[in-house]
C-alpha cells in the first residue's frame, strides 16, 4: 500500500536524499536555514545538515545566483532558492548570461551543475510582485533547462534529476501545489528531463497543461467526460527541452489542441507549443489550436479581479466546448 505525502514533503525528501548521497550538494537562499524557507521547503534540513550546507543569505539575488555559479564551476552542486520567480529578475544576468553560457563559452572545459528553485504562479492575492509565471524567458535562453512538476511524484523525481544534471536547471514550484498529496516512493528515483507524461488518456482533444493547470484540466476533463467527451492531458513536466514528440503523438490521435498554462500569452509557452504543432503536424489538426493563459495584464490584488485574470477549470471547460463546437 503506497505512501501518500504532500508535494512539499516530496520535494524536501528529494533534496534530503541527494544531500545524504552527495556531499557537494548544498542549499542557499533567504531563510533556507534554521527557519526552513518561505514555504517550509527545507524544514528540518538545517537540523540534519547544519548551516554550512543550508546557507541563509542576505537579500542579494544577483550574488546568490552568481555565487552558485562559482561554486558549481568548482564541482559543487548548489541549489539556490530565489524564493519567488519575481525576484529572479534581479539575478537574470547571472542566470541567463553566466550560468547558461559558461559551459559553451569555455568550449566544454567547465560545467555548471546547479539548480535555481523558484516558486511560481497564482496564490492568494500575492499581487503584482509575487505572482509571476514568466518562465518563458528561461525557455528562450539556450543553456538552461526548465522543469515544472505538477504532482508530488514528479516533484521528487524532477528535483533529483535537476540536482544530478550537469547543466543549470530552473526548478519551478507552483504555490498552489505545495499541499497537494500523492503517491511517492520512499527511495530516490529520477524522472528524465525532457520526457512528458500523459496524465489522462483520451481521444477527442489534447490538452497540454503544466503545473497547477494540470489539475484544472483534469477537473475539466471530468466534467466533459460526463458529456461523453474524451480528453487527453499531456503534462510536459519539462518545459525546456520539452517533449515535442509526445505532444505531436497525442495531437495526431485527437486532432485538437488546447494549451492551458499560467504564463502570459505573448511569446509564452502556449504560443510555443502551438507553433511546434502546426509547424510539424498541421494536417493533423481538425480545428485551429487554442490556448488558455493568464490575461495580458499586471496581476491585480483584489480577489474578484485576480480570479478573473487567471485560468480556472470553468474556463478550461468553456475553451474545450468552443473547440468542439467549432
Amino acid at each position: 500500500m503506497a505512501r501518500r505525502i504532500r508535494f512539499i514533503e516530496a520535494l524536501r525528501e528529494g533534496m534530503r536524499q541527494e544531500m545524504e548521497r552527495d556531499p557537494s550538494v548544498f542549499i542557499m537562499g533567504e531563510g533556507v536555514g534554521p527557519h526552513g524557507s518561505a514555504f517550509k521547503q527545507t524544514d528540518g534540513l538545517c537540523a540534519q545538515f547544519g548551516e554550512e550546507r543550508l546557507r541563509d543569505t542576505p537579500i542579494s539575488e544577483l550574488a546568490i545566483a552568481g555565487t552558485a555559479v562559482g561554486a558549481a564551476l568548482m564541482g559543487m552542486r548548489p541549489i539556490a532558492d530565489l524564493m519567488w520567480i519575481d525576484f529572479s529578475m534581479l539575478a537574470m544576468d547571472q542566470i541567463c548570461n553566466q550560468a547558461a553560457k559558461l559551459r559553451y563559452i569555455s568550449n566544454g572545459q567547465v560545467k555548471v551543475p546547479l539548480v535555481y528553485r523558484m516558486s511560481t504562479g497564482k496564490s492568494k492575492s500575492n499581487a503584482a510582485h509575487h505572482s509571476g509565471s514568466f518562465y518563458s524567458w528561461f525557455i528562450n535562453t539556450p543553456g538552461l533547462k526548465v522543469v515544472l512538476p505538477s504532482t508530488p511524484y514528479d516533484a521528487k523525481g524532477l528535483i533529483i534529476s535537476a540536482i544530478r544534471d550537469d547543466d543549470p536547471v530552473i526548478y519551478l514550484e507552483h504555490k498552489l501545489l505545495f499541499n497537494t498529496r500523492g503517491e511517492v516512493p520512499e527511495e530516490p528515483y529520477e524522472i528524465p528531463i525532457g520526457v512528458a507524461e500523459v496524465k489522462r488518456e483520451g481521444t477527442d482533444l489534447t490538452i497540454v497543461a503544466n503545473g497547477a493547470m494540470v489539475g484544472f484540466s483534469m477537473a475539466a476533463a471530468e466534467v466533459m467526460a460526463k458529456e461523453g467527451v474524451s480528453i487527453e492531458i499531456v503534462d510536459p513536466r519539462t518545459l525546456m527541452p520539452y517533449d515535442g514528440e509526445a505532444i505531436l503523438k497525442s495531437v495526431r490521435k485527437t486532432g485538437r489542441l488546447l494549451v492551458v498554462e499560467e504564463g502570459f500569452r505573448f511569446c509564452g509557452f502556449g504560443s510555443e507549443i502551438i507553433a511546434h504543432v502546426v509547424e510539424n503536424a498541421m494536417d493533423a489538426l481538425r480545428v485551429p489550436p487554442k490556448q488558455l493563459t493568464t490575461m495580458h495584464t499586471t496581476i491585480p490584488f483584489s480577489p474578484p479581479m485576480e480570479d478573473y485574470v487567471f485560468p480556472n477549470p470553468e474556463r478550461v471547460v468553456d475553451a474545450v466546448r468552443a473547440m468542439l463546437s467549432a
Binding site: I59, D86, F87, P300, S302, Y308
Partner: protein, 318 residues
C-alpha cells in the same frame, strides 16, 4: 521643537499604531486576503521623518508601508480599504497591502520588491532637481535592503548628482527570519554612507525626537542642493514578519525586552514629564485614533469589491 509639533508627532504615531492593530483584527477576521506586514513598534520613524515633508515632497516605501502612507497624509480609510481589497482603496483594489499609491500627496508607491523603491526615489529627486524645485524625495527601506545592489547603485548615483533625496533605513533587526547580523557584514548600517561620500546618521529609531532632529538636518541639506543623506534608524520588529508568522526563529525574551522600548510609551512619558501632555489628553488622543481606525475598518468592510472586469482597465490592448 514646539509643543504643537510634539503633540502632532505623538498623534501620528498613535494613528499609525491603531490603524495597524485594526488591520491585525481585520486580518484575523479574514478581511485581508493575504498576509500583511505590520509596522507596530516602528511608528516613530514614519512620524519623525514625514513631519518635515509637504505634499510636494515624495516618498517611496516597502512591503511594510502602511505607516509611511498615514504619516505622509493618506486618509486612513483609503489605506485600510486598499489592504482589504476594496474598490474604495487608494488603488481601487489593484495594488493591495504592498502597493499603495497617492501621488497627489507624494506617496509615489510602496513596493513589493525589496530595494526597488530606492532608485525610484533617486529618480524622483532627479526630476525635482531638474525642475529647479526645492522639493525632496524620501526612500524608506529595511535593513534587508542594504545588501542589495539597488541600495549601492542608488546611493552612489544620488551622491554623485547631489540629488535631494533622503535614505531612511529602518533597521528592525530582521529580514523575514534572517537576523541582521546574519546578512550584513557591518555593525552600523549608517557607516555605509561613507562609501558614497555622504553623511550617515545613526539614531535610535524608537525616539521620535531623535529621528525628527536627524531628518531636520537631512532635509535642510537636501533643500539647499547639498545632496543626499542616509539616516540609519535602529528599531525592532515587534510582530512576526507578516501576520501569521509564528517567528519561532527568535527568542521570546528578545521581543519582551524590545517591547519595553515602545516608541509611543517613550514619547508619552517624555511629554508628560515635561508637562506638555496629561494622561487625560493622551487617553483622549488614543481614543480618537482608535475611533478613526475603527471607522476606517467599518468603511472598508462596507465598501464594495471591484468588479472582475476592472482588472482589464489600463492594460495596453493587443
Amino acid at each position: 521643537m514646539d509643543k504643537a509639533t510634539k503633540i502632532r508627532l505623538l498623534n501620528t504615531m498613535l494613528r499609525i499604531r491603531k490603524a495597524e492593530l485594526q488591520l491585525a483584527i481585520l486580518y484575523k477576521n479574514g478581511k485581508v486576503p493575504c498576509a500583511a506586514h505590520l509596522y507596530e513598534g516602528q511608528e516613530a520613524i514614519a512620524a519623525g521623518v514625514c513631519d518635515h515633508l509637504t505634499h510636494n515632497d515624495c516618498l517611496t516605501s516597502t512591503h511594510r508601508g502602511h505607516g509611511h502612507c498615514i504619516a505622509k497624509g493618506m486618509d486612513m480609510k483609503e489605506m485600510v480599504a486598499e489592504v482589504c481589497a476594496r474598490k474604495t482603496g487608494c488603488c481601487g483594489g489593484k495594488g493591495g497591502t504592498m502597493h499603495l499609491f497617492k501621488p497627489d500627496i507624494g506617496v509615489m508607491g510602496t513596493i513589493g520588491i525589496v530595494g526597488a523603491g530606492i532608485p525610484i526615489a533617486a529618480g524622483i529627486a532627479l526630476a525635482m532637481k531638474m525642475k529647479k524645485t526645492d522639493y525632496v524625495a524620501v526612500s524608506f527601506f529595511g535593513d534587508g535592503a542594504v545588501n542589495n545592489g539597488a541600495f549601492h547603485e542608488s546611493l552612489n548615483l544620488a551622491s554623485l548628482w547631489k540629488l535631494p533625496v533622503i535614505f531612511i533605513c529602518e533597521n528592525n533587526h530582521y529580514a523575514t527570519s534572517v537576523a541582521v547580523w546574519r546578512s550584513t557584514s557591518i555593525a552600523k548600517i549608517g557607516d555605509r554612507a561613507a562609501s558614497y561620500d555622504m553623511p550617515g546618521i545613526h539614531v535610535d529609531g524608537n525616539c521620535v525626537d531623535l529621528v525628527y532632529a536627524a531628518m531636520e538636518t537631512a532635509v535642510k541639506r537636501a533643500r539647499a542642493g547639498e545632496g543626499p543623506t542616509l539616516i540609519d534608524c535602529e528599531t525592532y520588529r515587534i510582530r512576526g514578519h507578516y501576520e501569521g508568522d509564528d517567528a519561532l526563529y527568535r527568542k521570546k525574551d528578545e521581543v519582551l525586552e524590545a517591547r519595553k522600548h515602545d516608541p509611543i510609551e517613550y514619547w508619552k512619558h517624555e511629554l508628560i514629564t515635561e508637562g506638555a501632555l496629561t494622561e487625560e489628553e493622551f487617553d483622549a488622543m488614543a481614543a480618537q485614533a482608535d475611533a478613526e481606525a475603527e471607522a476606517a475598518g467599518e468603511f472598508a468592510q462596507n465598501s464594495p469589491f471591484p468588479d472582475p472586469e476592472e482588472a482589464l482597465m489600463l492594460t495596453a490592448k493587443c
